[in-house]
């Protein structure tokens, strides 16, 4: 891997400081540029962040910081995302394990799965609409349908790549079938599965927004399209920032979880180089 980045703590801190400084500089440039250009399309970042705060985070500490608007605008989106992803993960991992362990099943279904994963999510919206109606079920269904593929394929691939040695070692201890699955196969495949989970989360967010832009009565996507209709650029940018924060935080959360669950892998790879 990279031998050029120094690995001492001092270096890491200075790199982080450099990064944030550069970001701040960029923000400053943006601010100055926006103020001088006075374009309605691109309000200054200070105004945008101010709006974000006012709209969603200004309820004060005693009321839990989050405003009512947050609960009506942002929370429904988060809820749909979580439900859709949860279903995608459970079904995806289960199917991935089945495919990985039953070769005949894999050979039969694989071509179909490859085809389906390539379908552009947004265009399935009309189908979903007709099949399931305009409610949350449609949106959750779309998220699940799109987010399942990375998890499924990564699980499938990871399960197939479990070294034979692990299975032999476990079998020689007369382990039960469930024991093999939960104590050997899944842990061995866990890094691949988690990589799939990370990808599926970004995919899920994309489909969440697409479905809310297309047909919704609340949520971030809905807020975006509403603002678009009324040409309220400041509001649009606020929703864009909210979306960014959602993506950033969900990724951060996943990375934290990965560090606590899968640290053994990272450290082992570091030793093996």
């Amino acid at each position: 891997m990279t031998t050029t980045l120094s690995s001492t703590t001092v270096s890491r801190w200075s790199n982080a400081a450099l990064g944030w400084t550069a970001a701040a500089v960029l923000l400053l440039v943006w601010q100055l540029g926006a103020v001088s250009a006075r374009s309605p399309y691109f309000p200054p970042p200070i105004d945008i962040f101010g709006n974000v705060y006012d709209r969603w985070f200004s309820a004060g500490l005693s009321h839990g910081i989050l405003t009512d608007s947050f609960y009506s605008d942002i929370l429904p989106s988060i809820g749909r995302l979580l439900v859709g992803l949860a279903i995608a993960w459970i079904v995806g991992i289960t199917l991935g394990v089945l495919l990985g362990r039953i070769p005949v099943l894999a050979m039969t279904i694989e071509p179909l799965l490859h085809f389906m994963r390539g379908l552009p999510g947004p265009v399935l919206l009309p189908l979903a609409l007709v099949l399931v109606g305009t409610g949350s079920a449609m949106r959750i269904g779309l998220i699940t349908f799109g987010a399942i593929w990375p998890v499924l394929f990564n699980t499938y691939s990871a399960v197939r790549q479990v070294p034979e040695g692990f299975e032999d070692a476990a079998r020689s201890t007369r382990i039960s079938r469930t024991g093999m699955l939960f104590r050997v196969i899944l842990p061995s495949a866990s890094t691949g599965i988690f990589a799939g989970i990370k990808v599926s989360t970004s995919l899920g967010i994309i489909l969440l927004i697409a479905s809310e832009l297309y047909a919704a009565s609340d949520g971030i996507g809905f807020g975006l399209s509403q603002a678009q209709r009324s040409f309220e650029f400041l509001t649009m940018w606020s929703y864009i920032v909210a979306l960014s924060i959602l993506g950033y935080l969900s990724n951060l959360l996943l990375v934290r979880i990965e560090h606590s669950l899968l640290d053994w892998h990272r450290l082992r790879m570091a030793i093996d180089n």
Binding site: P163, E164, G165, F166, D168, A169, A170, R171, S172, T173, R174, I175, S176, G179, R183, V184, P187, S188, S190, W264, H265, L267, R268, I271, D272
Partner: protein, 264 residues
């Protein structure tokens, strides 16, 4: 005659692949008595791995029977433990050393008993106190000792070992060989040991079984006339050692007549 712990009767195995049939084991018969240390040697390509997989129950042979403790085995039998050559693909990297050693006992024995047996096994291989490390933090020799400890925790009647010291350096190998002899003494274990190293087979065993190249048959069954306890320097200097190892080496050389190339 003492009770035969392991009886192998006319064992054969044929692999069916897309490229046709390969007869790897061709009617092997031998037995291992309680307390013996039997080494299995042979040239590369003689089906040692296949043999061990059938003996451990991981592979169902296409012909012949294997009996452990008088009962014909079907799948992996009780009372057996195995140590593999590649510790990196047999010790679980997501589990700490202690968790690896107690792995065979999960669901069979309670937590306190597991902890006790783990501590005991680790002490037996000279790794006391290492429960909280990860296997990959240890050296190759130490990792193989963890693998042995895991096998010991099962308190097996028969220990199968598949070229366990092939992946470590010479110095570590000597240490591990002596460790194995000590452990065998301590637990009064019966060991079946596959190796390609002639010196090692003679140094460790009470008996050596030599095999031919595939289709594999038994070419000889030698009793090792050396005394216990053995010493890396003293024993290897003995005339009996030199002649015996020469005999074994000749047997292996004779077992490759034309040099058949067969994939195992």
């Amino acid at each position: 005659m003492a009770n035969a712990l392991l009886e192998v009767d006319n064992l054969s195995h044929t692999y069916h692949t897309d490229r046709g049939e390969q007869r790897v084991l061709n009617g092997l018969s031998f037995s291992v008595d309680d307390g013996e240390f039997v080494s299995i040697v042979g040239p590369s390509g003689c089906g040692k791995t296949t043999l061990l997989r059938t003996l451990s129950g991981l592979l169902e042979p296409t012909g012949g029977t294997i009996s452990l403790g008088g009962r014909v085995i079907d799948g992996v039998p009780e009372g057996l433990a195995m140590v593999f050559q590649d510790y990196r693909a047999s010790l679980f990297p997501w589990r700490r050393v202690g968790a690896n050693v107690e792995f065979p006992l999960l669901g069979i024995v309670g937590k306190s008993e597991r902890r006790a047996r783990t501590a005991e096994s680790l002490a037996a291989v000279g790794l006391e106190g290492m429960e909280e490390r990860y296997p990959w933090q240890l050296s190759g020799g130490m990792q193989q000792r963890v693998a042995i400890a895991r096998a010991l925790a099962m308190q097996p009647k028969l220990l199968l070992m598949d070229e366990p010291f092939a992946s470590v350096d010479a110095q570590t190998r000597s240490d591990l060989e002596d460790l194995l002899l000590r452990v065998r003494d301590q637990y009064d274990m019966t060991i079946l040991f596959v190796t390609h190293d002639v010196d090692e087979s003679v140094y460790l065993s009470t008996r050596v079984v030599s095999l031919s190249k595939a289709p594999t048959v038994k070419t000889a069954d030698l009793l090792i006339p050396l005394d216990f306890p053995r010493d890396q320097i003293r024993t290897r200097e003995e005339e009996l050692f030199v002649t015996t190892r020469g005999e074994v080496a000749r047997l292996i050389r004779q077992a490759c007549p034309g040099g058949l190339q067969v994939e195992v």
